[in-house]
């Protein structure tokens, strides 16, 4: 018998981060931040993306047959999951729940880190839309209406919050009736939008593609012009300039991961459970955390404008690359055990989507290896490393972006200025990032 857990699919979670790890992580983050601020380079290092061009790899990956095969493979996997959702049993052994919450949402992080823009190239929504356009003999790029360019990825930011709401707040989210409404709603909105606005809509509104594209900025694969290059991820992040709404996507991602931990604190559980309107509280908490991230990051980035030639509104997007490693570090710290445990369970159930005793992929008889739970110190170390490394990469990129955008500080005589002037523009951003990192560690401690 499997009891459906109240909160999400995982009935077994990792232990809270030991307090000594929280203190160690915060101390390391603080120390390294100021080392970078005071001693790091004063001239841009990643002004150009650089990297190693890979013409052969580009040719292979851009080959029509390879693209089609990859698209059809991913479409087949999603079609199989859809079969489980539409015709499977309404039990936790139905693989669709783990497929949506573990494989797709959490698995998106390692896939995008390791293989760059894989999701964008194989997104089943794009495949379905391409197929429809081929049937109707219309150009997939053009719809009936034009998307306003200023919209950017704002719809996707809302979409990320909606997914987080489904994952963390939606009552009965591990029942088929509820999940079907969400998945079909997502599919219909995406496809109708793509018909109306052309396939640019999928890039603008699909929360999965927005998540994947954001994480892929930290990968070593990067397309520069037409060619794929092997690049230093720090150079790639420095070169990234997201569309309007890109910062909102990041804030929604970081805010919702933080809410997942926050919602597990005794204080919040008691507050919500005492209230007569728990859904209002939970929704408010989720939106509030995303807004805190959005406002704090935007304000710290806008501060840079005091020292630069652009308006304050320009800086948040220009500096967005610096929060990506923190987003990824948070995600790894929060979801590694979920991916390992529920990922395996999903792989096992994937052989039998309808609950009829099938063993299509030969995985049905496998057992879940939960040995990692016997090594709580190893889990804690992974969490600490993910958060601290994310933080360090983040401040390195933030420092690089600040000197790229402002240029080396100079005195009136044109001489390189004393350190104090170079530090002042970066200080608010540094403090905000230290705040994110310490908050992440404290939330993992889960008081």
């Amino acid at each position: 018998m499997i009891l459906i857990p109240l909160h999400g699919i995982a009935s077994r979670r990792e232990l809270p981060l030991p307090f000594s790890f929280v203190v160690a992580g915060a101390a390391i983050a603080l120390a390294i931040s100021f080392v970078v601020l005071v001693f790091a380079w004063r001239r841009p290092r990643f002004a150009a993306v650089g990297g190693l061009p890979l013409p052969r790899l580009t040719a292979v990956l851009d080959h029509g047959g390879v693209r089609l095969a990859a698209r059809l493979l991913v479409l087949a996997v999603f079609g199989w999951a859809a079969l489980a959702m539409m015709a499977g049993q309404d039990l936790l052994t139905n693989p669709i729940f783990g497929f949506v919450f573990a494989w797709v949402w959490v698995g998106m992080v390692p896939i995008s880190l390791l293989s760059g823009q894989f999701w964008r190239a194989t997104n089943p929504l794009r495949t379905v839309h391409l197929g429809l356009c081929a049937l109707a003999r219309v150009d997939p790029d053009h719809g009936l209406l034009r998307l306003p360019p200023r919209l950017g990825t704002w719809p996707a930011a809302v979409g990320v919050l909606c997914f987080a709401w489904l994952e963390l707040i939606q009552p009965d989210r591990t029942t088929l009736a509820v999940l079907r409404v969400w998945v079909l709603g997502w599919f219909v909105i995406m496809i109708i939008g793509a018909v109306l606005f052309g396939r640019g809509w999928i890039g603008a509104a699909d929360p999965l593609e927005a998540y994947a594209s954001t994480v892929a900025q930290l990968s070593v694969w990067r397309r520069v012009g037409e060619q794929i290059r092997l690049v230093d991820p720090l150079a790639g992040l420095s070169a990234w300039r997201p569309p309007p709404g890109g910062v909102a996507v990041i804030a929604a991602l970081l805010g919702s991961t933080a809410y997942d931990s926050f919602a597990n604190t005794t204080w919040w559980i008691q507050t919500v459970q005492r209230s007569a309107h728990p859904l209002v509280w939970e929704t408010g908490g989720l939106v509030m955390l995303a807004l805190i991230v959005l406002c704090s990051f935007a304000a710290a980035a806008a501060w840079t404008a005091r020292y630069g030639s652009r308006g304050p509104g320009a800086y948040p997007r220009l500096m967005a690359g610096s929060v990506v490693p923190i987003v990824v570090g948070y995600a790894i710290a929060h979801y590694t055990t979920l991916l390992i445990l529920e990922g395996q369970r999903t792989a096992i159930n994937f052989s039998d989507p309808l609950g009829r005793g099938w063993n299509v992929f030969g995985s049905a008889e496998m057992g879940v290896n939960a040995a990692i739970f016997n090594h709580p110190t190893a889990i804690a170390m992974i969490q600490l490393l993910a958060i601290v490394i994310g933080h360090v990469l983040g401040i390195v990129v933030a420092h690089e972006k600040a000197i790229q955008l402002l240029g080396p500080a100079r005195t009136a005589a044109g001489e390189p200025a004393a350190d104090s002037r170079a530090i002042a523009p970066q200080l608010p951003m540094l403090l905000v990032m230290i705040g994110y990192t310490c908050a992440g560690l404290v939330l993992l401690f889960s008081p």
Partner: protein, 150 residues
């Protein structure tokens, strides 16, 4: 083609990070449980000897954790409380409720305790696996306690 050069100072910083990170793992301190045995007098209590007890196959009644659960007017008590346990420790739940309910504990394959309105009932299970698990009221959809089993 231009590959950015790496500042040696960053390498120094990297080594420093490595050393700092190695510290908590090697000094032996961090594995210690961070919170003392069950808090909040009245709602949950551990009998003597539970704090430092090593995981043992024989989960004797002596070091069991006792949770007194009250369900009244749609509220649960304790509510979302965190309890520290050692693997192999027994959990005893004394439940009083003003409504019919089911208490679920998500340990192992899942533990269920049927509760009838107005009839105190006691149930117990052994926390064999490590990790963090919830005890909840199924009817109310509310978390009673979270067991952190080390």
């Amino acid at each position: 083609m231009q590959i950015p050069r790496w500042d040696p100072r960053v390498t120094v910083a990297g080594v420093t990070i490595g050393l700092c990170l190695a510290l908590p793992g090697c000094t032996g301190a961090p594995a210690a449980p961070t919170s003392s045995p069950p808090a909040t007098p009245g709602s949950a209590s551990a009998t003597a000897g539970s704090a430092g007890a090593a995981p043992s196959a024989s989960s004797s009644e002596a070091n069991a954790v006792v949770i007194d659960i009250t369900i009244a007017n749609g509220q649960v008590s304790p509510s979302g409380e965190k309890l520290s346990l050692t693997r192999g420790q027994k959990v005893i739940m004394n439940v009083t409720s003003d409504q019919d309910d089911e208490i679920h504990a998500h340990v192992g394959d899942g533990y269920e305790l049927e509760v009838t309105a107005g009839k105190p009932v006691t149930g117990s299970f052994v926390a064999t696996d490590g990790g963090s698990f919830e005890i909840e009221s199924h009817e109310l959809d509310k978390i009673i306690a979270i067991l952190n089993v080390r």
